[in-house]
């Protein structure tokens, strides 16, 4: 392999790695705050891409139906819960948060249907539309079993992913999409053509990671999220509701997933079921970071991107095998570094 090819592969790898970084950080964020390993997270990213593609061709995106369906389900569940608790006063706010807020972007989309929108507007609307999905799923699927073990939550999460992929096919259809490039411009650096798009991708990953860091460090809500992740009981004892921080984590992570979907859609063809695989690649990164450490997670995700890029050059058939087998040495290293026996009795 010449150094030119290596450089091109590396740049490609960093670009896709940067996209995985966003998803991987989202994984860690949701897991740290809610203990849920949110497997359908990659699907959120794919759905954003599909929504964006629909808007480009002036079609109504399937996301509208999906969000409306979930909003109605969540509302019914929450109203039932309110009534059972005898808390009639909570119903108006339930209707507002679970029904009205998620349906606002749907309604916007409905009225804007058929109009030609500029690229930033399309992106903004797509992002807005996918944001409610994960928090609503949290309410419908995970909150009733919030006290369950991580393993049970993970199992439910896997099942949820398959349900969501099936729904994805119903709402989006089987066609693959690829959106317009963000920009056609490219720069020459050290004798190589590097597209501006690559810079935008890497830049967005950096900017959004930095924004998240700032949010955690500087705002009270960010601190409350960290507190929940560090010590759930401690958080409850100062009056932080895990359900609330959980919703916040889902919303924030969805922003990251949405951005990653927007960034990836001009680069790769996206199908309704593409989310799982790039979700999983990001996942490898998250596991490298032990699901708790953001910087190591980001490095891990970058590593996966670069490895994938080189692997597809060596042997495109075994690309996936190579990437997922990477986990084994990582896990081996982790298992060797497990120190004195820690107790994890579960009943």
């Amino acid at each position: 392999m010449s150094s030119d090819i290596a450089a091109i592969l590396a740049i490609d790898g960093i670009a896709s790695g940067a996209i995985y970084v966003l998803i991987a950080i989202g994984f860690v964020l949701i897991f740290a705050v809610t203990r849920v390993i949110f497997v359908p997270f990659g699907d959120i990213s794919a759905f954003t891409a599909l929504t964006l593609a629909a808007l480009e061709t002036q079609r109504l995106p399937g996301t509208m139906g999906l969000v409306a369906l979930l909003a109605v389900m969540a509302t019914v569940m929450q109203v039932t819960a309110d009534l059972q608790a005898g808390d009639h006063k909570a119903i108006p706010s339930t209707l507002f948060f679970y029904l009205l807020v998620p349906l606002v972007p749907v309604a916007l989309m409905w009225f804007a249907a058929g109009t030609v929108m500029s690229m930033p507007v399309r992106m903004g609307l797509s992002l807005l539309l996918v944001l409610p999905i994960a928090p609503l799923l949290d309410r419908i699927v995970f909150r009733p079993i919030a006290d369950a073990s991580v393993l049970l939550l993970l199992t439910v999460s896997m099942a949820l992913h398959f349900a969501l992929v099936g729904l994805g096919l119903m709402f989006f259809g089987p066609e693959g999409v690829r959106t317009q490039p963000l920009t056609d411009a490219s720069w020459e650096i050290a004798g190589m053509q590097v597209s501006l798009q690559t810079f935008l991708i890497v830049g967005s990953a950096v900017v959004f990671s930095a924004l998240l860091y700032g949010f955690f460090e500087l705002t009270l809500t960010g601190k409350a999220l960290r507190a929940t992740a560090v010590n759930r009981t401690g958080a409850r004892l100062v009056g932080i509701r895990p359900a609330y921080t959980g919703t916040m984590a889902y919303v924030l992570a969805s922003v990251l997933a949405g951005i990653s979907g927007i960034l990836i859609s001009p680069v790769t063809t996206i199908f309704y079921d593409s989310g799982f695989l790039f979700g999983l690649r990001a996942f490898v990164g998250a596991i490298i970071g032990a699901m708790v450490n953001y910087p190591v997670t980001a490095l891990g995700a970058l590593l996966v991107g670069v490895l994938e890029s080189f692997a597809s050059f060596w042997s495109s058939a075994f690309k996936e095998v190579i990437v997922f087998s990477l986990l084994l040495p990582v896990l081996l290293w982790r298992s060797l570094s497990v120190g004195e026996v820690e107790d994890e009795a579960e009943e």
Binding site: I145, L151, L152, F283, V284, F324, L331, S335, D343, A345
Partner: protein, 589 residues
């Protein structure tokens, strides 16, 4: 349901099964075959998940290994399917051994995630290996033949499949009721408990994992010859979830739950395929998955224990005849009275900047009861963990019967003759009193997985049971050996732990706050028990907070405060020591 009733019911069910080709049509027979084939995988998952507490999303990959091994050997290489069977067994077990060795030290969800990773890797491997027909798969897999007889018809396969299934079920049942099986059932109690009993937790996990893979590989081999065609699709990760679902829907804590789940899932899937298109026009296979996943989620939300949890009271309670006349298990020689048994020399343990145990030394003589006391947070529990190997000291030395155990793992220390109890009782609530105490005999017995599964361990098992019953009687719990341990009140649970410790034939018994949470009479009974044990020449180290309890019972006392030993001596002297009064007895005057 009584044992006799249950036996008749089982017999009737077996008869119904064996004669099913007489009254079921070929299509139903085929369904029954698949129920058996899938149930076998689920059975492995019950052992792995429900019993051993390890979650795997990747079982489909092992099914694939078995199926491809069978198809490759018979269809592509022209060997007999039985060669394929051997290959399937060897391959699935060795891959499991390799993957297990790498991943099974990981905690709960990391382990589960790793199964997704290798599950995918193996799946992609099937699709990309030229020798295995890529994504097209391997067609024309020959039927299995027994001598000149080719098993082609579904009823013929039925007998082979269900013979294997019943054999696997029987072997698993036997296993769970044996030494190694009890070790598997203890796994969910946590490493600390398992290792303190002298059981190698990792090896037990690994064996369980390999067994689950073996069942999956067998199932794959059967699948290849039942379906007569193999392609990668049925070995995807989402099929792995289907298997998990079978185990969980049926009830992952009972072996039979695997087949209840397999039947339920297979039949429901079949009817969804029949009826869904009638309800929703043009519905695709994807909708089937959606409906299925939603049903699964709702089931997990409502019944975490699966269907068997609703009907488990119908199963007969476990019961064994115990032969009191068998030769007792061999005992280790007890040391002579007043011989130095344990020497703790300048032991130190730090946590970050905090010195929890600060250069503490004391010795323990054979046949005495030594009390280690001190206020909460004095470092007693840390000291306790250092002695039993749950923690390692930063410096200093611990010598037990002339042997340096400073850096020995818990398991080795347990085998050397130090048995412990726990401050927060660690018993297995869903196991009987007898089985809990039998766990204690683990280091004194030898039978492995194979002997357990095929009942080659009966003599030793009878000896162990007699020993366990003897220990239960010794502590006064001998009247209901088949009661579930979780039904005991706290006081008796502590006593049960002592019986379990005694079953290990220890030289030294180390008790962590045995009187905490006990009522007055219970404390008295406990004190009497400990005194009678001392009269039998057993040495006891008691870590305790309750002064009243300690003072009347022990021979000598060591007092700790802020990680240091502040005093040592006879109870009466310690009581008079001003340092002790200051530090321990609430001296804030």
């Amino acid at each position: 349901m009584s044992k006799i009733q249950f036996r008749y019911l089982t017999l009737a069910a077996l008869l119904l099964l064996v004669t099913s080709p007489l009254y079921l049509n070929p299509f139903s027979m085929t369904l029954l075959n698949y129920i058996g084939v899938y149930g076998l995988v689920a059975l492995g998952l019950v052992l792995l998940t429900g019993i051993g507490g390890m979650m795997s999303f990747g079982q489909a990959a092992f099914v694939g290994i078995g199926a491809y091994a069978g198809a490759w050997a018979s269809a592509l290489q022209g060997y007999s399917p039985w060669v394929g069977l051997m290959l399937a067994i060897v391959l699935s077990c060795s891959v499991a051994l390799f993957l297990g060795a790498i991943t099974l030290r990981l905690g709960g969800h990391f382990l589960a995630l790793s199964t997704v990773a290798w599950g995918l890797s193996i799946f992609f491997l099937f699709g990309n290996l030229d020798g295995l027909g890529n994504y097209n798969g391997i067609a024309n897999v020959p039927p299995i033949s027994i001598g000149p007889l080719k098993l082609v018809a579904s009823w013929q396969m039925f007998y082979l499949i269900w013979a294997i299934v019943l054999l696997a079920l029987l072997a698993s049942r036997n296993l769970l009721d044996s030494r190694s099986g009890r070790a598997m059932r203890a796994l969910r109690g946590g490493n600390l408990l398992v290792e303190s009993l002298g059981i190698n937790a990792f090896a037990t996990r690994l064996a369980t994992f390999v067994m689950a893979a073996l069942f999956a590989g067998l199932s794959g081999w059967l699948y290849a010859h039942l379906n007569r065609f193999v392609s990668p699709a049925p070995f995807e990760v989402h099929v792995g979830i289907d298997y998990l679902m079978m185990a969980m829907v049926g009830g992952a804590t009972e072996l039979i739950g695997a087949f209840i789940g397999s039947a339920l899932v297979t039949l429901t899937k079949n009817s969804i395929q029949d009826y869904l298109p009638l309800i929703a026009k043009g519905a695709s296979g994807q909708l089937e998955i959606v409906v299925f996943s939603i049903v699964f989620i709702v089931l997990l939300q409502r019944w975490r224990g699966g269907l068997i949890s609703i009907s488990s009271h119908l199963l007969p309670s476990p019961h064994h005849e115990i032969d009191g006349q068998v030769a007792p298990l061999s005992r280790r020689p007890l040391p002579h009275r007043d011989e130095t048994l344990l020497t703790v020399d300048q032991v130190e343990r730090r946590f970050g900047g905090l010195v929890a145990v600060d250069k503490v030394s004391f010795t323990l003589k054979a046949g005495e009861i030594l009390g280690l006391i001190g206020p909460n947070g004095a470092g007693k529990s840390t000291m306790f963990n250092l002695l039993t190997g749950a923690l390692r000291p930063n410096s200093g030395q611990v010598v037990f019967q002339g042997r340096d155990i400073t850096h020995s793992p818990q398991r080795t220390i347990a085998k050397a003759g130090i048995a412990r109890t726990f401050q927060h009782v660690k018993i297995r609530p869903k196991m009987t009193l007898l089985d809990n105490v039998l766990l204690g005999t683990h280091p004194r017995t030898r039978s492995g997985f194979f002997n357990g599964a095929f009942r080659l361990d009966r003599k030793e098992e009878a000896q162990a049971r007699a020993e366990a019953l003897r220990q239960l009687q010794r502590v006064g719990l001998g009247d209901k050996p088949f009661e579930l341990a979780g039904n005991l009140p706290l006081g008796n649970q502590r006593v049960l732990e002592i019986a379990r410790a005694l079953a290990a034939d220890p030289v030294l018994l180390v008790l962590d706050e045995p009187a905490a949470g006990l009522r007055r009479q219970e404390k008295q009974a406990l004190a009497e028990l400990l005194q009678s044990l001392r009269s039998e020449n057993l040495t006891i180290l008691l870590v305790e907070h309750d002064m009243e309890f300690v003072m009347g019972l022990v021979d000598r006392i060591v007092v700790m405060n802020f990680g240091c030993k502040i005093c040592e001596g006879l109870p009466a002297d310690v009581r008079q020591d001003p340092h002790v009064q200051d530090a321990y007895l609430g001296g804030l005057v």
